[in-house]
Subunit: 372 residues, 2 copies
């Protein structure tokens, strides 16, 4: 699963989907929605984690940023609660405050699933940093990180099984189905990274991004709709809204990963290129059939040279330029705009009243950094 | 999770709980119950696995022994269906044929959870053989084995979420809770294996075995009871029955792992000792305070020497003798008898009619190899 890279709305990169009409009020609204979601879901999450047996609890609390590795309290952020906020906003949009309040457990369950996948993905990808801290497997070992992830998945589905709401069984089935899609997405990602760049198609890269990133955002929206007693068509439309917004997010995240400001993203620009990641703009460039694509393929075939800083800088500049000249950046930005347009269509289908759809719109614009 | 080592009732080791009254008819009954459970649950399992995305499906089918690594059909056994048989037998004992038929999905869910833990445990323990075949991680890599395990857990809980039965939410919550206990048990096991032998207590070894092996057998029985509409007290008693029978099984399995016939167990006798495993008879011996315990501690402190067959044989003989002289074998057999007696008490509490309890009794005796 990809974590959102921005840490706050302040100082966000002005890059985004071209041609966006910016509404300053929305930024505040999304921030408020996220803060509210965090404040309301955290007690449910903390109570659920507190019910785990000692060692599993300790690893989970470390992962969430609530404790240091030695068990002392920490004040680190546990992420931005985008997914819980989407559950609550969907329930609110289609069912009002009552549905919103009823969907708190579902919001916590989605956040638990997200964090279970982060724990496991970090083990598989050998990622050493998460939310500016060493990943759980580097601190507790692979086995404990795998076990803590397993326990969080079980906890998520237990929360829904214990929820007396009539939507709970449908929500649980949908969340379990989403976990299976997330697994398939992570499998596709790791399998693609092992293949030669010229063997990877743009369609499969988009499908992978949808499974890995879009699926859980879509599921979050669908769960909120289920708790609001929405119709099948509304649930489907909100799922599609979340998926398309998730894809737009991933496209923009990949663009920022290449051209963005490292001070703002928390990740050095070019890290994806140095790792020869087959991100969406790169695959679009590689499959463009242009002379720059041939140049890029040759550059990507050579592993990144570490150590010589000057050489490293030149290598990354050459790759960045080739991706841009091959149209990777333009394609990604146009695709992101297209995905956001589709997301808006789906949102309008599920929630025709613009006032009611406001919260979901703000959150979608927040994740895709369309506001300044 | 520990797999049962016997492959069939025929040719089973006569070792078992001392003082057992053997009833020849039961062997047949247990075998029939297991065969019936396999035949009835397999279609549900296969349909569930068939719903997985391609790559996850392939790994799961390999793991279950239904396919070779290249995707061609295989006829390997997927285990003995002890846990599904316990679900069905419990439902039948307390609710008759209707409850038994209604609990099929729950039986499949328990089997999926069992197999998810096997996939993950094999990754963590670096075990290379499972059911006489290379483990999934050795064939598909760690990442795919972890992902397939994650997907099987989700599939198990989805089966229950989609089950319209009124017991399904309670069953799902209980199964999710059991997964958390299994994770804690596996954590305790891996943590104990890293510690010095003299630091491990018998109580924590028994607690670990209960969490790792007893919990899922207990959960299987509890789920069957829930589908039969049993009272809380009956559900608790059947859970305790399964747990105690699971502990008895583990004790006997550990005894056979040291003194058993390798041709019958599928695992060479002494493998646990060669790996310096802190199995129940070994910890009982180490904590006995006898001179043989001191001798055993010194032998266990030296890693097992590989290569020199003569030396290896002598090393294992010396350790085996020390465990026996320190009372590890007698203790384990007495404990197993005690646990089986407790299991029988719990069974009588939940199902007072001996006729109705017959199936569960046969299965408990089968797993602990009390019949010949």
């Amino acid at each position: 699963m990809t974590e959102l890279r921005t840490q706050s709305t302040a100082g966000r990169s002005p890059r985004g989907v071209p041609g966006t009409v910016r509404r300053p009020a929305e930024r505040h609204e999304a921030t408020t929605l996220l803060e509210l979601a965090r404040a309301e879901v955290d007690p449910v999450l903390r109570a659920a984690i507190a019910s785990l047996p000692g060692p599993m609890r300790r690893i989970a609390r470390y992962h969430f940023g609530w404790e240091h590795a030695d068990g002392t309290p920490a004040s680190g952020g546990s992420g931005k609660a985008i997914r819980p906020a989407l559950v609550l906003a969907s329930a609110s949009a289609l069912g009002g405050p009552g549905a919103r309040a009823a969907s708190l457990r579902a919001a916590a369950a989605v956040e638990l699933v997200h964090n279970f996948t982060l724990l496991h993905d970090d083990v598989m990808d050998r990622d050493t940093t998460r939310r500016h801290r060493p990943t759980a497997w580097t601190v507790f070992g692979d086995a404990d990180a795998i076990l803590a992830g397993d326990a969080l998945q079980a906890l998520a589905l237990r929360l829904l099984a214990e929820d007396g709401h009539r939507a709970a069984p449908l929500a649980a089935a949908r969340l379990a189905d989403c976990v299976i899609e997330l697994c398939a997405g992570q499998h596709a990602d790791t399998a693609m990274e092992r293949r030669a760049p010229q063997e990877v198609t743009l369609d499969e890269t988009l499908a992978m991004a949808e499974a890995k990133t879009g699926a859980l955002l879509g599921c979050a929206c669908a769960l909120g709709a289920l708790y609001a007693g929405a119709s099948d068509a509304e649930v489907r439309a909100l799922d599609a809204f979340g998926r398309q917004a998730g894809l737009a997010f991933q496209l923009i995240d990949d663009v920022i990963g290449i051209w963005g400001d490292p001070g703002r993203t928390g990740k050095p620009a070019g890290a994806d290129l140095a790792a020869r990641k087959k991100s969406l703009p790169v695959v679009a460039a590689l499959t463009s059939g242009s002379p720059a694509a041939t140049e890029l393929a040759a550059l990507y075939a050579a592993p990144h040279a570490k150590g010589d800083l000057e050489h490293t800088r030149e290598d990354l500049e050459r790759i960045t330029s080739a991706v841009e000249r091959a149209g990777g950046r333009d394609w990604a930005q146009a695709q992101a705009a297209d995905r956001m347009a589709r997301a808006m269509q789906e949102l309008a289908r599920a929630v025709p009243d613009p006032e009611g759809a406001g919260g979901l719109l703000s959150l979608a614009e927040f994740v895709t950094r369309r506001t300044t």
